[in-house]
Amino acid sequence: MSFVDIIINSLSSLEFSYTLTLLLAVVIPGLIIFLLMTVNAIVAVYMERKISAFMQDRLGPMEVGIFGFKGGKKFWGGIGQTIADAVKLLAKEDIIPKDADKFMMILAPFIIFIASFITFVGVPLSENFLISNFNIGILYILAMGSVGVIGIILAGWASNNKWSLYGAMRAAAQIISYEIPIGLTLLLPVIISGGLDVHSIVDWQLENRWLIIHSPFTFIGFFIFFVSGIAETNRVPFDIPESESELVAGWMTEYSGFRWSLFFLSEYTNMLIISLVASFVFLGGWGSPMTIFNIIPGDYMYLDGPMWGLFWLLSKAVVLIFVMMWFRWTFPRLRVDQLMYLCWKVFIPFSIANMLFVGMWEVLF
């Protein structure tokens, strides 16, 4: 059962026309995804600013409250800052450079946004809160996850700015490179569970154990997947496309206002997607932490249910997002050659070897 199916079933009892039902079945999940993306961006930006501040012995935003609640001196101080920032961002002037390719410049952020938007269709939030249940779920996520690179190249090219183009080319090179380890590591659960769709992978984990502790090779696989995922989202330490200090903002330099906020939104959405994928592929999906070893098989339904599933999956994702932020504020940016070394010389050989060993492990045990 996917979310769209549920909506269509519940609407059919109301006897709307077929077109209207279909339209609602598309619009309602779309709005929910959009809401989720926005809330995620606002919360994650606040979280990131606070965490980065704490890691660097600062305080972060402390002044802006929300509805008169200023949040005191600790984590909640400045709780309204990102909301204020979002309002400011939307009210900003939207500048398009004179020599830029106007059409492509306008198009690019929407491509990037749509790429992360439609990736969400295949990403589960809980057992039934999966917008559409493909039987090739993983493949779909992989495919849609790399659509964004078209938008990035378009943005860099349309800006008519050599630094933006540098950023775009770096982004393309990086994302295309890191597609390979991601694809290879996502093959591990497919090998183990024997299915490409979300449900078969998670159900296998709930029946046996989480894939991250299934074997040492899946742990390495998780690690490679997660780090490559960070590289996919162009975050520090793999942020050479943006590289604040060399290219200012890379392919985003010439953007402002609403279009730039779309980039921002999709960056944080990509973070959420990577974290959600990592948690449902390797961390037991919507199962509670009780299911990690499944010492009492069959009892995994403990603390389970629609809302619990949402809670567990989202909290796993939030923990992973925190780890991403932790990485960001710990490591300096990699050089281009180091980035390529890591991908081609470390991750790809290791994930190929991983596949081999996982296959052997499955045969042996």
């Binding site: 965490i51 704490f54 890691m55 660097q56 012995d57 600062r58 305080l59 402390m62 932790w326 990485f327 504020w329 710990t330 490591f331 010389k345 470390v346």
Partner: protein, 440 residues
Amino acid sequence: MRDYFNNIYVGLRSFCKGLSLTFKHMKNKEELVATLQYPNEKWPIPERNIGFDMSEYNVVRSRLHVDMDDCIGCLQCERACPVDCIKIDTIKPSKDSDVDCGVTSLGTQKKLVVPRFTIDMSECMYCNLCVYPCPEECIYMVGGPNEDKHEMDYEFSQYSRDGLIFEFANATDEDIVSAGGDDYIRNRDSKIDILKEGEELKGKEVVPEAIDKKQQVSPATVSQEITHKSFSDLEDKMQRGVAKKTFLTEKKQGKSDEEILKSIESALKDKDLLDDQASALISKLGSSNQADSPPVADEITHKSFNDLEDKMQRGIAKKTFLTEKKQGKSDSDILTAIEAAFKDKDLLNDQAKDLLKSLTSTGSTEVAEEAPKGGLFELKKLNDLEDKLARGLAKKTYTKSKKDDKSSSEILEDIETVLKEADKLTDETIAVINKIKESL
């Protein structure tokens, strides 16, 4: 191959090390946090130990402060300032005014009103040179040895440069007016107006035609609309000041022009300042404001007494009129009451008698047009006398005779006789007196 794996191992180890380091920092936030939320939190000012007592240490370079109650306006600090950042204006109250400027804490009687005492701290170079000349020790750097006078202040940043101009003078406009500083206020206001005009231009060049237009337009607008400038025609300083002040305060309260004029009139009356010029102006303003207001002259009003030359007369007449009117007495009763009041104060001269007669006979007069001009010649005309003594005697006689309600020719005769007695009646003085006679 060995290097390759070694590389990965080192990478992983430093990876974990880095993560653990940042995590430790995140946990131990309280003691490690370096941020000081400045306006809310401040570093404590360290105890200073410079080897001797603070009071002997007289060069704290903080912010200049003036205890305005002690300032006598001697301008010593203004002169001492090497960068001219201190600007002081003073007004000496005229002798007849009963303005008491107060006494300083050192017991000196203050003789000047200080309407402006500004220190531009953006220009100040903290040389402390203005502090030494001050005879009353009222200008000083805050804090340090002066901590008991004014607390330390080293944070006076502002958003605009104007904010660094500190105004210490506490003389109100009322004080200035009562000290006879009406010209000062007018000058200041005109300067402020010019500044405002300049700001409105916003750096644009003024086209000469525009100026001409403005000049052409401005008198018209003034007569149509009542502003505080409408009262600039008043000759008496006090009158002008009171009128303007009342106008501005009333205007702020959003009252209508009519109400404002009324309250100005009453304010002037309160201070016995309502002479014919003032009331003429007020009625003019009132009539210009509402063209269809009924003419005033049909009845006896307090304005009927505007023709009286003597201020005292006029004031008494009006006062009596209004009090009687309030009691609901008839016109003739009022007039007799006024006559009695004049008699009480020895003010009943021919002019007053005539006026009262005309008012009683007609019951209504049209006085505004036929204001009799200059019963007396002006005292200034006697300035033509060259001899100091002669001039003095003449003026004395003039004022004396004026008090006795003598006419111009009588006064001139008096002057002549006085000068004759003093052996000062030369050809020149005779010529001057004749000239005045001719001009009458």
